[in-house]
């Protein structure tokens, strides 16, 4: 658990500026107000009622990506994102959003995300949209033009969903392959909500990769969404409900680790302990749960054995997810795994420490800033001459795809989740071994 609450940590900022160079938004504009130090000061002034709630402060607070890079850089661990969230909560109290927005939000956060089945149904609809003439029609009629550029781009880069017939439930138990590897332990996969609808293939590959690295893998069917989106939209009650449910589901399993393959989900799961700071009856259970959370790369590097893997001779680079590197503190594992793949040229991405600008729905809410951040990022990608950008989080994956799209690199650059690349490379190695 964090030693200080956000309120306490707000007062420990000594204005040393150590966070400045880590901040992606400050990197774009150079305005002190677009950096962590400025944000802490503004939030504090607002929370102490020294400045009023108005459009200006609302705009300032909404420019933070909440990426946590500054927390990582701060010598005294000032919880900048949480402090910004406190300010946002105060702003929200003063400003009721329009009825329609509230209703939509409530529907989305309370009636959709927490329910895997409903989400799957939405997935079916989306598949239908993609497969039927509807998408063609929408494009033809220019309906998308009514939406902001970033939303248009997102529509264009959404992955093609698997048809409902192929989106079968994930196997509830997969034994670790012990021919090549010693048994490394028993793990449970956290499948995520949106992840499981849009990136079912990646979840499937995660199971394969873990099993081939020596782990027995279970996937409990009654797990629910991690709650990240609700939490960050101020729906704490729903978040707590989901957290309790997940804790109950996973503590029944007797596994060594709970594995996440999405930095955003993993980071939220690690926050559960913090959520129950004031609920002693849940705190212990939450702590035990949190101690088991691992990112898939991390657990393979530390506990498992990646089987022989062979690439396709391509040049790859890696864009880390902020939540993975700064909140989960998984910094080297993904690159270590990539370096173990034969016939793959890995080039480090310059300034990879900076967020890609995706940050939940930031790219929809702050299209200009997100666009500038992404444009800069794509410049670095070009410097590496990579054919493949590897990511470890669905948000970053979509954002990098949007970047590839807007820079017109669709034909030369692919964006791939690290699990997919690794699973395919392992498979390739196996095929080569059996044929050669």
């Amino acid at each position: 658990m964090k030693p200080l609450t956000p309120e306490q940590s707000m007062y420990t900022c000594v204005r040393c500026g150590a966070c400045r160079d880590a901040c992606p938004t400050l990197d774009i504009t150079g305005r002190e107000a677009d950096g962590p130090r400025g944000r802490v000061l503004m939030a504090r002034s607002l929370l102490e009622d020294r400045i009023p709630v108005n459009a200006e402060i609302e705009e300032q607070m909404s420019r933070c990506l909440l990426c946590s890079a500054c927390v990582d850089a701060c010598p005294v661990n000032v919880q900048v994102p949480e402090i910004v969230m406190l300010a946002k909560e105060k702003i929200a109290e003063h400003k009721k959003s329009p009825f329609l927005v509230r209703t939509l939000k409530r529907f989305f956060f309370n009636h959709l995300l927490p329910h895997p089945r409903r989400l799957q149904f939405l997935g079916h609809l989306l598949w239908l949209y993609q497969q039927s003439g509807l998408r063609w029609l929408v494009h033809k009629l220019g309906i998308l033009k009514l939406f902001p550029d970033s939303a248009q781009q997102m529509e264009a880069v959404l992955p093609d969903l698997l048809p409902p017939s192929e989106r079968k439930p994930l196997p509830s138990f997969t034994p670790g392959c012990s021919e090549q590897n010693k048994r490394a332990g028993k793990v449970a996969l956290f499948r995520g909500c949106i992840m499981d609808v849009m990136f079912r293939e990646t979840n499937r590959h995660s199971i394969e990769l873990l099993a081939r690295s020596g782990f027995d893998v279970v996937v409990p069917d009654d797990q629910v969404c991690c709650g990240a989106l609700m939490y960050h939209n101020g729906q704490k009650d729903t978040t707590l409900e989901l957290a309790k449910k997940n804790i109950e589901v996973f503590e029944k399993l007797d596994v060594d680790y709970i594995i996440s393959n999405a930095g955003g989900c993993g980071a939220m799961l690690k926050e559960y302990e913090e959520l129950f700071r004031h609920e002693p009856e849940w705190l212990e259970r939450a702590r035990a749960f949190c101690h088991k959370i691992r990112d898939i790369s991390e657990v393979i590097v530390e506990q498992g054995t990646l089987p022989k893997a062979v690439g396709n001779g391509e040049t790859v680079t890696y864009q880390p997810s902020c939540h993975l590197q700064y909140v989960m503190q998984v910094k080297r594992a993904p690159e270590q795994l990539l370096s173990r793949v034969a016939n793959l040229h890995y080039r480090p991405l310059p300034e990879s420490n900076l967020c890609c600008g995706s940050a939940g729905i930031y790219n929809l809410l702050q299209p200009k800033m997100a666009g500038d951040i992404l444009h800069k990022k794509m410049g670095y990608v070009k410097e590496t001459s990579a054919h493949v950008i590897i990511t470890a989080n669905p948000g970053c994956l979509l954002q990098m795809k949007a970047g590839v799209h807007s820079e017109g690199l669709q034909n030369s650059v692919k964006v791939v989740h690290i699990v997919d690349l690794l699973a395919e490379s392992v498979e390739r190695a196996e095929k080569q071994a059996s044929t050669g």
Binding site: Y11, T12, V14, R15, C16, G17, A18, R20, D21, T29, G30, R31, E32, A33, R37, G38, L41, M42, S45, I51, E56, I57, Q60, A73, P75, V76
Partner: protein, 468 residues
Amino acid sequence: MIEKIISELQRVIDKERVLWRKTDMMTYAYDASFATQLEPKEPEAVVIPLSTDEVQACVQLANKYQVPLYPRGAATGQTGGAVPIKGGIVLDMSKMDRIIEVDDENFQVIVEPGIIQANLNAALKKYGLFFPPDPGSSKMCTVGGMISNNSSGLRAVKYGVTRQYVLGLEIVLPTGEVIVTGGEKSRALKSVSGYDLAHLMIGSEGTLGIVTRIRLKLLPLPPARGIVLCSFPKIEQAIEGVRAVYHSGIIPSAIEIMDIYATRAANKMRPDLNLPETEALLLFEVDGNKDIVALQVKTISEALKSHTDYVKFSDDPEQCENLWQSRKIVGAAVGNLKPGGIRVYGGEDICVPFSRLPEAIRRIHEITNSYNIVCGIYGHVGDGNLHTAPIIDINNQQEVEKAKQMIEEIHHLAIELGGTTTAEHGVGIVRAPYMEIEHGQALDVMRRLKKTLDPNNILNPGKMALPT
């Protein structure tokens, strides 16, 4: 009137880089100093220039309308140096941060002032070169800010201070002319042609000109380093230890001291460091090629043997990193000495003659005890430079007042011991009250220089006890 200036500024500079909204102004009202944390001072406008031309345009407008102008790097300064204490316009130089040219054949680099020290060195690494002055703030401060404060840091014992590396500057004068001193076209490493205007600018804290381009001398990056960590029951023994090392014929790249409170704080933050909590902990760093490092580490440990029974050393990179940890975290760790307290920057940069270090440390402890304020001391002992870190509850008015008085006493102590109130952080507004005692008649010459170069008192007015 400021509206008029803002609209004129917007005509020459991108609207997005001319700031005037209330919240923006709040965020330019401070640096890292205790003083501006207590009393922030907001500007009326901020400009983020991208070129010398834009800087020049700002200076011309400031003269036209007679408003003050304050150059600012990353505002990591601890003296209020870049803070607009008289209103007016802040020039945020941090976006002019390009490396213009690495001339590795001549061991030189030309940069814009906003570049961050650590980023410059990261870029120089592939040439096997480096810019040695390394303040504790190297990851955040700008080279322009370093020049203006003549910053140094851990490795000043061996490599000296920023001043020693500046070969030439492009400067926008307070009256708007652009001069190049120690020219960009020249690549000479030495020159005595004319008055040394570049060095007049260094340490002038943004009162005599705005630095827009910098030509720096570089040194070869030492491939290896080694660390010796040792602890002494008494401060006097520690100083004897340093003397013994000097007499062994070695100039370490850094010699750092931590007092018992600083050590205790480091242990609290990182129990695995497990440092002995005695009156003084010393860290020696040596660098050079691998063989030389190994030899130096051995010689230093030998030299220290008769002064202490606790010596740890290594020339293995990973081990070194570990031994160096206590020094790296101490600035942040001291905050742990008192729950609910934060470290404030004040009286934090005194420098005394080497021979009087034990007395200085003892007397600082006496002073801080008499105020009942927890305070860690650490610093660059090889130069006699001590950083004191008072930890107070900044929301407690009584404690704030006590701290102010205590800081005053520490400054007077430095002067009494034949030292200075600031070794590297500068004067700004915080040390202005001591300028008269420290400089006497020389302050008058500084004031005359200021008046000659800046007749309208446009640039960074109210700092360094210059005319107001």
